[in-house]
């Protein structure tokens, strides 16, 4: 008998592959997913001292992982509201958590090329050490898992596709742009810096910038940022798995 853990993830690979193929048809969406990041890099290149450019490049990779959550929110709502396909998926042997995580992995795979492009640009401007590359990888995985869980959980709250855009814009830009993701932590008001370090996108950006010697963090700040990413990501991921199961039963 298969363990319950394995049964729980039944259909994950197949649905992730399906979602990847679906997303790859949306090449315009994939290309435009880094538009805001390119705009910030452009502003930084055009108007700020050159020393700030690596911050914008690192921030743009972290932000790219974060806004995948917005795509998942949109995709999950689109499948449910417009296509009413989620009922079919939930009636299938695929588990609700596989549905949520498969969608997250599929969207991640499709939106990887622009992210890799930004990582390449960041590495070109400020070469990565092995340790910095590993921290970046870990940070991107953490931010993606956080954003994917948040996006899926939020998608279940919407009944109208037209209402999604303003709320999604608000949530993902408030957490992804206002805190120091594209710019150094030291520019952010000192009193609010601990708050920035408990928000996964800015915590991840600060950790990567610190490993690249762009930014100097104290040991306490490094621990705070790393723990925030791990604890918050785990918490929201587990909640979303629970919510996905509950939501599928209620449909």
């Amino acid at each position: 008998m298969k363990s319950s853990f394995l049964t729980r993830w039944k259909g994950l690979g197949a649905f992730a592959a399906t979602e990847t193929r679906v997303q790859f048809h949306e090449y315009l969406s994939i290309a435009s997913s880094i538009l805001v990041q390119v705009i910030f890099i452009f502003f930084m290149w055009l108007l700020a001292p050159r020393s700030l450019l690596p911050f914008a490049l690192v921030g743009s990779t972290v932000f790219s992982a974060f806004v995948i959550g917005e795509r998942i929110l949109d995709e999950a709502a689109y499948i449910r509201i417009d296509h009413k396909l989620n009922e079919l998926y939930h009636a299938s042997p695929m588990s609700p958590e596989s549905y949520f995580l498969g969608m997250g992995l599929g969207v991640l795979a499709a939106y990887m090329p622009p992210m890799v492009f930004l990582v390449g640009m960041a590495n070109w401007v400020h070469p990565f050490t092995v340790s910095a590359a590993l921290v970046l990888l870990g940070a991107l995985i953490g931010v993606w898992a956080f954003a994917a869980s948040l996006g899926y959980a939020l998608s279940t709250l919407f009944k109208d596709m037209r209402a999604i855009w303003p709320y999604a814009t608000l949530i993902f830009n408030l957490f992804g742009v206002l805190p120091p993701v594209f710019y150094p932590l030291y520019i952010f008001p000192a009193a609010l810096q601990p708050v920035a370090l408990v928000m996964p996108p800015s915590a991840a950006a600060a950790l990567v910038m610190h490993t690249l010697n762009l930014l100097s963090l104290s040991t306490g700040e490094v621990v705070l940022a790393a723990l925030s990413i791990i604890v918050e990501t785990l918490a929201i991921f587990l909640f979303t798995v629970y919510w996905a199961r509950r939501f599928s039963r209620e449909r």
């Binding site: 949306e26 315009l28 969406s29 290309a31 435009s32 538009l35 805001v36 705009i39 910030f40 452009f42 502003f43 930084m44 055009l46 108007l47 700020a48 700030l52 949109d74 689109y78 417009d82 596709m161 037209r162 209402a163 855009w165 303003p166 709320y167 814009t169 608000l170 830009n173 408030l174 742009v177 206002l178 594209f182 710019y183 520019i187």
Partner: protein
């Protein structure tokens, strides 16, 4: 009996714009957020003296971005709700439909424009002539980009295309025009490209009219003329390429 074409449809479309805001409060905030995000970021990385110009740029960006929402509404009504057939069958006409959608989205953009105008009034003394030039520029940009938005929308085949196409057409073009930054900061090659975009003339006219950049009266008149000429050409082309009846 003659159909009632005395402009009453504006009231209906105004109500549509207002209802969208009143039912989704975030709608009133989100349009402010994007220009404010750029403003916030630019405030951090640029000298404080640039800020009034950046606020004016944000107002012009909002006006230009109305085209993006017009695109979204028009495409959603046609593709998802299949409402356009009803409008085609009605006595409204395509110009009325364009004006109506543009007007309803101007309503949705109004909170953003008012907030930005208040910020501008606080940080920079704008003369009456400056306000008039700014309002005129906003109206011309709004009309032009609404026309472009509705024309692009008529070529869109799937709801999924709306967001990326709108982003490329309006956000990217909005950034290439020197709305948020002085034209002189662009490298020479990009300055040439920027001169092909109506937003550039809008930015030069509005900022020059307020004294935020130094322009002679002749330059101001020329920028105003080029903005209006590009708007007229753009609107005529849009009406030409807009697919009203799908047979």
């Amino acid at each position: 009996m003659a159909p009632p074409l005395n402009g009453r449809f504006f009231r209906a479309f105004t109500l549509i714009g207002w209802r969208w805001i009143s039912r989704n409060p975030a709608v009133a905030i989100a349009p402010v957020l994007l220009p404010f995000m750029f403003l916030y970021f630019l405030r951090l990385i640029t000298p404080a003296s640039y800020f009034p110009g950046e606020v004016v740029g944000a107002m012009l960006f909002v006006s230009q971005n109305v085209g993006n929402w017009v695109l979204g509404d028009s495409a959603t009504w046609r593709i998802q709700l299949a409402l356009q057939d009803m409008f085609v069958a009605s006595p409204l006409g395509k110009v009325g439909y364009l004006a109506g959608i543009a007007f309803s989205n101007l309503m949705a953009a109004m909170p953003a424009l008012v907030v930005l105008a208040v910020v501008l009034a606080i940080i920079y003394p704008v003369s009456l002539v400056g306000w008039l030039i700014l309002i005129g520029t906003i109206l011309v940009l709004w009309l032009l980009f609404s026309a472009i938005g509705i024309t692009i929308s008529s070529r869109i085949k799937s709801r999924r295309e709306i967001w990326p196409v709108g982003n490329f057409a309006f956000t990217a073009l909005g950034m290439l025009s020197p709305l948020y930054y002085p034209l002189s900061t662009l490298p020479p090659a990009l300055q040439v490209v920027a001169h092909f975009l109506p937003g550039t003339y809008a930015a030069l006219l509005a900022k020059g009219g307020m004294g935020l950049i130094t322009l002679g009266q002749g330059d101001l008149l020329l920028d105003g003329f080029l903005l209006i000429a590009s708007a007229i050409i753009g609107i005529l082309l849009s009406l030409q390429f807009y697919r009203w009846r799908v047979t």
